[in-house]
């Protein structure tokens, strides 16, 4: 195993470029080190340890957004009073990622980069229209998180690029909710989860419904979003009303954690439960 430990972002990008992107970026290491002693193949890889790049750690507020650094942890967000006021859904999600011992190490950017469809930090970020800034020696670019994934654990990030920040625009939300369903309340990997957000259209908002653990990537449910936007239709009075749209949006599977049927059924119930009485289309 070889480890490169840059101290600035500029050095980090340079080392990554020198190795043509063939380094695994490491932040809190909570995904990388699971069952580590048995992972001989991973021991033979080369890593880019970002933990010494101090400039990537802080979160920052601007007039119109919250910017998380690549090393900002769940705990950093949990201890930020302004986040609790402005984006309570981020707090809800952070509290449900592992327990304190994971929250103090795990990073939002690492959750995005790891690319698990069960990631609990990603649905809320995507529902809040977060964007991801990627940097390399040739410059930076920003992509919408909703456009970041291209398939199972695949993304638009090029090997020589690093996630350097995540930006969440301030909006006037009238509805935000995050639901996670696992085998128990704490310390569980998600069987199915959903983040719901609604902001006024004037502010560039509208509906955002983002589900995890029901497709190869965390994904926006655009059919459900348009359904909720339709005015004048008969309101849904039961969870089943969402099923047709959901089947167009997600593709759950049977695996060790759950079944496709359970995931689809519960996702519809979460949506109904979360929206009932809060919008004219769900009664």
């Amino acid at each position: 195993m070889k480890v490169h430990a840059p101290e600035t972002l500029e050095q980090a990008c340079a080392v990554l470029a020198q190795h043509a992107g063939a380094l695994v970026p490491m932040a809190g290491a909570t995904d990388l080190l699971v069952h580590w002693p048995g992972k001989q193949r991973d021991h033979d890889r080369a890593y880019l340890d970002l933990s010494g790049v101090a400039e990537l750690r802080p979160l920052a507020w601007t007039d119109d957004s919250l910017k998380l650094g690549a090393l900002t942890t769940y705990w950093d967000v949990l201890r930020d009073p302004q986040t609790a006021r402005q984006f309570p859904m981020l707090i809800e999600a952070a509290r449900q990622v592992g327990a304190v011992q994971i929250q103090t190490r795990g990073t939002w950017a690492g959750n995005i980069a790891n690319g698990s469809p069960a990631a609990d930090g990603v649905p809320v970020l995507m529902a809040l229209d977060a964007s991801v800034t990627l940097a390399s020696t040739t410059g930076t670019r920003t992509v919408a998180l909703a456009d970041y994934y291209t398939g199972y654990r695949a993304s638009v990030r090029r090997p020589e690029e690093l996630i350097v920040s995540i930006e969440i625009p301030k909006r006037a939300y009238d509805i935000t909710a995050f639901y996670k369903v696992g085998p128990r309340r704490a310390q569980a990997i998600t069987k199915v989860g959903v983040a719901i957000a609604h902001a006024s259209h004037a502010g560039g908002g509208g509906w955002r419904i983002v589900a995890n653990s029901v497709a190869p990537t965390v994904c926006r449910c655009r059919s459900v979003e348009s359904l909720l936007d339709e005015v004048g239709g008969k309101p849904f009075t039961a969870p089943d009303g969402f099923l047709t749209a959901l089947r167009a949006d997600v593709a759950p599977i049977d695996d060790i954690r759950s079944t496709a049927e359970y995931r689809l059924t519960v996702l519809a119930r979460l949506l109904y439960h979360g929206l009932k009485g809060r919008t004219p289309s769900v009664a």
């Binding site: 195993m1 070889k2 480890v3 490169h4 430990a5 490491m26 809190g28 290491a29 909570t30 080190l33 699971v34 069952h35 580590w36 002693p37 021991h43 890593y47 340890d49 933990s51 010494g52 705990w75 609790a84 509290r95 592992g98 327990a99 304190v100 011992q101 994971i102 103090t104 190490r105 704490a186 310390q187």
Partner: protein, 164 residues
């Protein structure tokens, strides 16, 4: 940290239980193994090895972490506190309330419990039980642990606030 050549060991400086030290470690080494097998501090236990059970909990720069998920080289320049840094006398409330039985989870439990005891402000928006959710115990049923922590926190409050 000295930049490594392929597969080479790494030399780092860190502080463990208040003692500054320089260590030469394998890049694959976990903080848990460094503590147990290099430094002779076997208090932290390996339970699950995947960051769920909390038996390996230590404080890194004052925050609880699972030492099975920390590469030792990431502890460079940082402060590590293991269960060995806690004076046995401090644990009287936990013992009195039946917070321990077989002992496998206990080192991690008391590291997290003491962190909460020293930071009562954390319980303003999260319950002690939620803060302890990363320490699994299969003997006590948790009530003894929560009772012990409550008594420990009261003892701290009686002395006019948290310990430094």
């Amino acid at each position: 940290m000295k930049q490594p050549s392929e597969g080479a060991k790494l030399t780092i400086s860190l502080t463990v239980n208040g003692k500054p030290m320089e260590l030469t470690v394998e890049p694959t080494e976990r903080l848990l193994d460094t503590l147990r097998y290099r430094l002779g501090l076997p208090g932290a236990k390996e339970g699950c090895g995947e960051g769920e059970c909390g038996a390996c909990t230590v404080l890194l720069d004052g925050l609880p972490v699972n030492s099975c998920l920390v590469p030792t080289f990431q502890a460079r320049g940082r402060h590590v506190e293991s269960v060995e840094s806690i004076a046995p006398g401090e644990l009287a409330p936990m013992l009195r309330c039946g917070a321990t039985q077989c002992g496998a989870c206990t080192p991690g439990v008391v590291v997290t419990a003491r962190w909460i005891q020293q930071h009562p402000e954390l319980t303003v928006d999260r319950t002690p039980r939620e803060l302890m959710a990363g320490n699994l115990c299969r003997c006590t049923g948790y009530d003894g642990i929560m009772d012990g922590l409550a008594e420990w926190m009261n003892a701290g409050a009686d002395k006019g606030g948290a310990a430094s």
